[in-house]
């Protein structure tokens, strides 16, 4: 079942197209990773999805409803954590959490207390005195303690320490186990890798790759680390071999999935001493898309 779907979403600021035909689709119970470099349009997409920005072209629905026209109805079942959490300096964290929960229409106070404890937040302090991470915790506690069907999280962990990041990951897994959907934008690839079922990569306002992690890995092939008795001068010319790097007398390179068989045959002709293989990390997948093209946005 589709929870969130966009079709040809385009957003222009004057002449500048921040989004250029974005298509994403989040299913029920899915954790959907949304990654891209700075200024690529992640936050803009999310703001359009929340009906805060109006799309120039294209269409977006959540729960089958139009994100602009039915914003209020949709928001009753959505919880959102913005990328930059700005709070009211003269309200306390506890007051802000209560306000947010109330404005969504629920009041799940038991979850509230539990999450405050798990995230180790002092709710009696004024927001002025909170660090970036603590402001983010306020937004996270408010979002996660609400009983939403879709969680939209814009770089939710950028200010959290590793311990808190783990708490966050647990919370996401619990939500997923309850059948909730999550749209998670991030720079932190390991996080996306650990949590997400599907990933979309955005760059300069365009989605350049989507799919399950498995599918994307399939695209990039396997990482091989090989040490041979004799040098392999012709390796770079072999079909399906990319990104050769010298590593402590061994060679590390990437092999396209369909060429794996004949590459291994070729390598074995030089007398293998050591051979390791690993699936590529998302990092490598990610780097491949930005190879030689600089970063994404204009800013």
């Amino acid at each position: 079942m589709t929870i969130l779907k966009t079709a040809g979403l385009t957003k222009k600021f004057g002449d500048f197209a921040a989004l250029d035909g974005v298509d994403i689709e989040v299913g029920k119970g899915e954790v959907y990773g949304f990654i891209g470099p700075n200024g690529s349009g992640k936050s803009t997409t999310i703001r359009v999805l929340l009906g805060i920005l109006k799309a120039t072209e294209g269409h977006a629905t959540i729960f089958g409803k139009d994100v602009w026209k039915d914003a209020v109805e949709i928001h009753k079942r959505v919880a959102y954590v913005p990328g930059d959490v700005n709070l009211w300096p003269n309200l306390t964290g506890g007051e802000v959490i209560d306000l947010f929960i109330k404005l969504r229409g629920g009041n799940n106070t038991s979850r509230r207390e539990e999450l405050i404890r798990r995230f180790d937040l002092d709710p009696s302090k004024k927001c002025r005195t909170y660090s970036k991470g603590n402001r983010q915790k306020v937004a996270l506690v408010a979002a996660l303690s609400s009983d939403a069907d879709l969680y939209i999280l814009d770089e939710p962990t950028s200010g959290l320490d590793p311990l808190m990041e783990r708490v966050f990951q647990e919370c996401v897994r619990e939500a997923k186990a309850e059948g909730k959907s999550i749209l998670l934008s991030s720079h932190i690839l390991s996080e996306v890798e650990q949590l997400c079922d599907k990933v979309a990569i955005i760059r300069q306002g365009k989605i350049i790759e989507t799919g399950t992690l498995k599918e994307l890995r399939h695209l990039t092939g396997t990482m091989l680390l090989v040490e041979t008795k004799e040098p392999m001068p012709g390796l770079a010319e072999v079909k399906g071999v990319r990104g050769i790097v010298q590593k402590d007398g061994a060679l590390s390179f990437q092999v396209d999935q369909e060429e794996l068989d004949h590459v291994v045959r070729y390598v074995s002709g030089f007398g293998i001493i050591r051979m390791e293989s690993a699936p590529p990390t998302l990092e490598e997948l990610f780097m491949r898309h930005y190879e030689g093209t600089g970063t994404g946005g204009v800013s």
Binding site: L50, N86, W88, G94, L103
Partner: protein, 534 residues
């Protein structure tokens, strides 16, 4: 200078000037232009000494003293004397306001937004930002003083000689400097930009009120207010320089105090106590309107008290006015009382006009708060939840409308009740209240215009302050002399019935309200169509 404290002040000053390269010239030129334009208008309106002398006779009355300062040079009321006497104080107050806005912008606002933190990480001194801000403000006010002085002299008006013209400019500049320094002190005391601004504007109003009470009642009280000093420079009559120098001296002392306070506090902290926080929100906070009110509660209460005090201080003048009119036979001849109205009552509409325009400030602030929230990216927390744009804008609108009622009621009742208490004949409180309420539709038009701007031209919402200042200028001048009819009609405040002199005009009030509603509706339509956060 201590390198540790002040290094980089020069570059920071240049940076501030660069950031405000449009804003500052507009402020300065507006003052120069407004001053020159009024001087020319005075010459045109009062062509000979006899006409001026007739006006001079009305200037000794307490209401005028409360409004424009003590009369001087009335025996020979030249054009220059008239200009300085009637315009200097009001212009100085607005110059003070300019200083408040500029200083807060470059101190507390920058600090709140984290920009000072970045600047402080560079090799600049601890006090450089405050020092640079004050340096720029002193420079701006000096340029303002010199340009105004020279422009007045260049008009080549007989009674406006060089020394007086320069003193006129200097008095304005000195007022700007002292309020720049006082604001810098407030910026150290408060925890955030909003309350620092409230405190500073409060001090400006207080300075005006203390001077008014002093000018009417006791000379000694007037000396407690810097505005009381500068009106005693008797520009174009005796040209007394030392009150202006005293003001500049005080500005330097308060500037030093601001730097001292800055040096002993932490970045982001203030001195006024911050109470311990609550773990749970009170039920009153838990709605868009509850939040909107909570965010402005302190300012709202402070303004409400100020409005009552302002009304009360004008009211207290009524008693003095009564005895004054009784004493002076001349006045009885000069100001022929209108049928059925006491002389005192004739001043009511003018006082009401001035008070309601001031009362419009908190009303507009209440609705503009929403733009501030948007600029700080906090609106998306609200709209990202189950709150519609109509509900959000409606909440702020409602607070603004309630503010209009509360502020104007308090001003009117303050004037009425205190006047009734001090006058021998008593005073019709209900009439005063009606006179004040008559202004509500005009205030609503200003609110409607603001909603329209928020809906369609969010980047230009600041324009409303310009329009309000313009309205004040027009209404204030209109009360001093006969302006052509159409001039007052450029502002909604020009369509208000002057109770008690005129009957309440229901048609006019209904029209104003209809215009306000129309503007509001169109504003809502725009707000529902546009992007948030741009």
């Amino acid at each position: 200078m201590n390198n540790q404290l002040f290094s980089g002040t020069g570059s920071l000053s240049r940076f501030i000037l660069r950031r405000d390269r449009i804003r500052i010239p507009i402020w300065i030129l507006s003052f120069v232009f407004a001053t020159v334009a009024t001087a020319v208008a005075f010459i045109g309106l009062y062509e000979n000494a006899q006409e001026r002398q007739a006006i001079a006779a009305t200037m000794e009355n307490p209401a005028m003293m409360a409004m424009v300062g003590p009369g001087y040079g009335l025996a020979n009321y030249t054009s220059g004397a008239m200009m300085a006497h009637q315009m200097l104080l009001m212009t100085a107050v607005v110059v003070g306001l300019m200083s408040v806005l500029l200083v807060i912008r470059h101190t507390r606002t920058d600090e709140e937004d984290g920009r000072i933190e970045m600047v402080r990480s560079l090799p600049v001194g601890r006090l450089s930002n405050v020092a640079a801000t004050l340096l720029v403000l002193f420079l701006v006010n000096t340029v303002l003083a010199v340009l105004t002085g020279i422009s007045l002299y260049a008009l080549n008006i007989e009674s406006m000689e060089l020394e007086g013209s320069l003193l006129y400019g200097a008095a304005l500049g000195a007022t700007g400097m002292i309020f720049a320094s006082l604001t810098a002190v407030c910026a150290q005391l408060s925890h955030n930009a909003r309350s620092a601004m409230g405190l500073s504007i409060g001090i400006l109003l207080l300075a005006y009120i203390v001077r008014a009470i002093g000018d009417v009642g006791s000379e000694a009280v007037a000396w407690l207010s810097p505005l009381g000093w500068i009106v005693r420079s008797e520009v174009y009559v005796n040209n007394i320089w030392w009150p202006v120098l005293l003001t500049v001296g005080a500005a330097i002392i308060f500037g030093a105090l601001a730097m001292y306070l800055n040096s002993i506090r932490d970045l982001g902290a203030g001195f006024l106590p911050a109470r311990a926080g609550k773990v749970h929100a009170s039920p009153l906070l838990l709605s868009p309107i509850g939040l909107a009110f909570r965010l402005q509660r302190t300012g709202f209460i402070a303004w409400a008290i100020s409005m009552y005090v302002l009304g009360a201080s004008y009211g207290s003048v009524m008693g003095d006015m009564e005895s004054f009119f009784a004493d002076v036979d001349l006045m009885q001849d000069l100001l022929v009382p209108m049928e059925g109205f006491s002389l005192v009552e004739q001043f009511v509409p003018t006082l009401m006009a001035v008070m309601t325009i001031i009362a419009t400030i908190p009303v507009l602030m209440a609705i503009l708060k929403m733009r501030g929230e948007e600029k700080n990216d906090r609106i998306e927390h609200i709209l990202g939840r189950a709150v519609s744009r109509n509900r959000l804008l409606g909440s702020y609108l409602l607070i603004s409308l309630i503010a209009s009622f509360v502020m104007i009621s308090l001003a009117g009742l303050g004037l009425g009740t205190v006047a009734d208490a001090v006058m021998e004949e008593g005073f019709d409180v209900a009439m005063a209240y009606q006179a004040a309420l008559a202004y509500l539709p005009a205030v609503w038009v200003m609110v409607g215009l603001t909603v329209l701007l928020i809906g369609w031209l969010p980047k230009l919402t600041g324009f409303i302050w310009l329009y309000l200042s313009f309205s004040f200028f027009v209404i204030y001048l209109g009360s001093l002399f006969q302006l052509p009819e159409w001039v007052e009609k450029i502002t909604p405040f020009g369509y208000v019935s002057a109770i008690p002199l005129e009957e309440f005009d229901w048609l006019q009030a209904t029209m104003l309200t209809a215009v306000a509603i129309l503007l509001i509706v169109v504003g809502f339509v725009g707000y529902n169509r546009r992007d948030i956060g741009s």
